[in-house]
């Protein structure tokens, strides 16, 4: 089963720029389906990026973030070839993670 996480991290002179796209329905719990029933909430709660054993970025998501969320940020202290770990947990307790090489 393919990962839900796509990540691209490029190391620059000073900072590493990270982009990620995560596949997730991100149902807010406020939307009704065509039969008029509320679609129950199903969304990522926490996304974490780790490098060198430290957490370099944490996002606390919830019902306000839309489907298949895209994220972009930069951080210092990494170089090409290092590992970057991405992981998420949702409100149903499901999770996924991926380790990518910084380019």
């Amino acid at each position: 089963m393919a990962s839900t996480i796509r990540v691209r991290a490029v190391a620059g002179a000073d900072t590493t720029e990270v982009q990620s796209l995560i596949q997730h329905p991100m149902d807010s719990g406020f939307v009704k389906d065509s039969a008029g029933q509320l679609i129950p909430p199903h969304h990522i709660e926490v996304v974490q990026f780790e490098h060198g054993g430290k957490t370099v970025f944490t996002a606390l998501w919830g019902p306000a973030v839309s489907k298949d969320p895209y994220l972009k940020f930069s951080f210092k202290g990494a170089k090409k070839g290092d590992d970057l770990k991405v992981s998420w947990v949702d409100n149903k307790g499901a999770s996924d993670s991926l380790v990518a090489k910084i380019q």
Partner: protein, 280 residues
């Protein structure tokens, strides 16, 4: 005397005009006129850029689109389509067996007029015909699975120039003509034709959306629309366009829909496949 001459002249012109309209369908001439219209109206837009629809019309939107394209929302559909395309049917055959070049890099040739069946074959129709010929149930034309397949096929054809053929077969010309008529006919309670928005108002706003020019409008299909939060096939877009002007939609892949796809894609000949696309 002059008045009589003028009257006769006007009658003759009138007769000639209606004769032209009734008899000769000249796709080549109309193709040139169509292209010249858009190039003339938007002289700053490079020809190939028309396939980017609203982004060729609005700089602010374009910037946002470039950012989205770094990690495009249709990526998941392309991957899913690739998986689906490779998976054999129950009888062991694959989609590739139904198409020229194993179905890779062929988007730019669709739709085409099939002389044997006497109808326009679109990519979506061809995919379902392939399924049914191999004992599989057809896919829903407006849902994600069909969109995933056409997204993958478009992706493998990116950059290839559209090359829709209209032979001298009178049935092909008739299909072109019917598609053209559909495109320019006002419909729905709002009384809009496709041309009302995509010709007359191309580049303008309709509520918060920027209207794409009709030139090359098929090139980016299928599209991931942020409004839908999902992928949409050509069938889906035609159906929703109809209901948006309060016209009861036809069935997906209705003959008229295939004819208008034939007409519109032909009008975009020479422009590159840019699909799958991302739209607001």
């Amino acid at each position: 005397m002059l008045r009589k001459l003028l009257l006769v002249g006007a009658l003759a012109l009138g007769a000639a005009h209606s004769a032209l309209a009734a008899d000769k369908v000249d796709p080549k001439a109309e193709f040139k006129a169509f292209r010249d219209y858009f190039v003339g109206r938007f002289p700053k837009v490079p020809l190939d850029d028309f396939v980017n629809g609203p982004y060729s019309m609005d700089a602010g939107l374009r910037k946002q689109w470039k950012a989205i394209e770094e990690f495009p929302p249709y990526d998941f559909a392309v991957d899913k389509g690739k998986e689906m395309f490779a998976k054999p049917f129950a009888n062991g055959k694959t989609y590739g067996d139904c198409f020229p070049d194993k179905g890779v890099g062929i988007r730019q040739n669709y739709p085409y007029f099939d002389a044997k069946s006497g109808q326009v074959i679109t990519l979506e129709l061809a995919l379902n015909q392939c399924r049914e010929a191999n004992g599989e149930k057809p896919l829903d034309y407006v849902k994600d699975d069909m969109a995933a397949l056409t997204a993958y096929m478009a992706f493998t054809s990116r950059g290839k120039r559209f090359d829709i053929k209209i032979s001298d077969d009178p049935r092909a010309l008739a299909a072109y003509r019917k598609g053209e008529e559909y495109f320019y006919t006002r419909r729905g309670q709002l009384n809009f034709s496709c041309a009302s928005c995509h010709v007359q108002s191309a580049g303008n706003h309709i509520r918060t959306e920027v209207l794409a020019p009709a030139l090359g409008i098929m090139a980016a299909m299928p599209i991931y629309r942020s409004e839908w939060g999902s992928m949409g096939t050509i069938s889906r877009r035609l159906v929703t366009c109809n209901s948006q002007v309060r016209a009861a939609p036809l069935k997906p892949q209705d003959e008229l829909y295939r004819d208008v796809e034939y007409f519109l894609t032909y009008m975009g000949n020479g422009l590159p496949v840019s699909g799958p696309g991302a739209r607001p």
